[in-house]
Amino acid sequence: DAMVIQNPRYQVTQFGKPVTLSCSQTLNHNVMYWYQQKSSQAPKLLFHYYDKDFNNEADTPDNFQSRRPNTSFCFLDIRSPGLGDAAMYLCATSRDPLGPAKNIQYFGAGTRLSVL
C-alpha cells in the first residue's frame, strides 16, 4: 500500500505557467519534505514542514513555494517555471526531523515535470 502518494506522476507545463504538484501521506508523520532531482544528480532538499512550521533551504529559489493545509497534504507551487526547473520532484515524510530513529524518510514515487 502506497504510504506517500504523489500526483500526478508526470506533469507537463509551459514556460512561465504556474504549476502545482501534490503529495499526501497516510503515515501521520509530522514532517514533509520536497526534493528536486535533476538527471544524474542526487536529490536536493528544497524545503520541509515540521507540522505547520515551514523551513526553507537557503538556496531554494523564490519561484518555489509550498503549502501544507493539514497533516496529510503538502503542495509544491512553482510560480513561473523555467526550462531549468524540469526535474523529478520527490516528496518524503518522517516522524521527526531530528530525533534518532524518528527521522527515517519515506519517499513517494515522484512527479516528473517537463517545461515546454
Binding site: A42, P43, R112
Partner: protein, 106 residues
Amino acid sequence: GIQVEQSPPDLILQEGANSTLRCNFSDSVNNLQWFHQNPWGQLINLFYIPSGTKQNGRLSATTVATERYSLLYISSSQTTDSGVYFCAVASNQFYFGTGTSLTVIP
C-alpha cells in the same frame, strides 16, 4: 554541511556477482539510510543503519559511525538490482550522497 561521498560512481556486474558500495561522510550523524532508486525514479528504503550491521535477504549493510563510513553489500546480484544506490545521512538536516549507478547484465 556534511559531505557525503559514494564509491564507485558506476559499477557494471554480471548477474550472480557480488559487490560492495561505500559511503563516506564528513561528520557525526544520527541517521543513515541506504536507498535504491529504480528506473522509474522512486527511492526505495533499503536500510536505516546509523550504526551496526543489518541484513535483508541478499543485501546487508554495515555502518562504522566512529570511522564515518557505511558499506552496502549486494550478493548474487540480479538484473532487478540495477539502478542508482544512494546513502543519505542526517544530523540536523538530510544530506544525500553522490550515488552509485549499478548495472547488472544477464
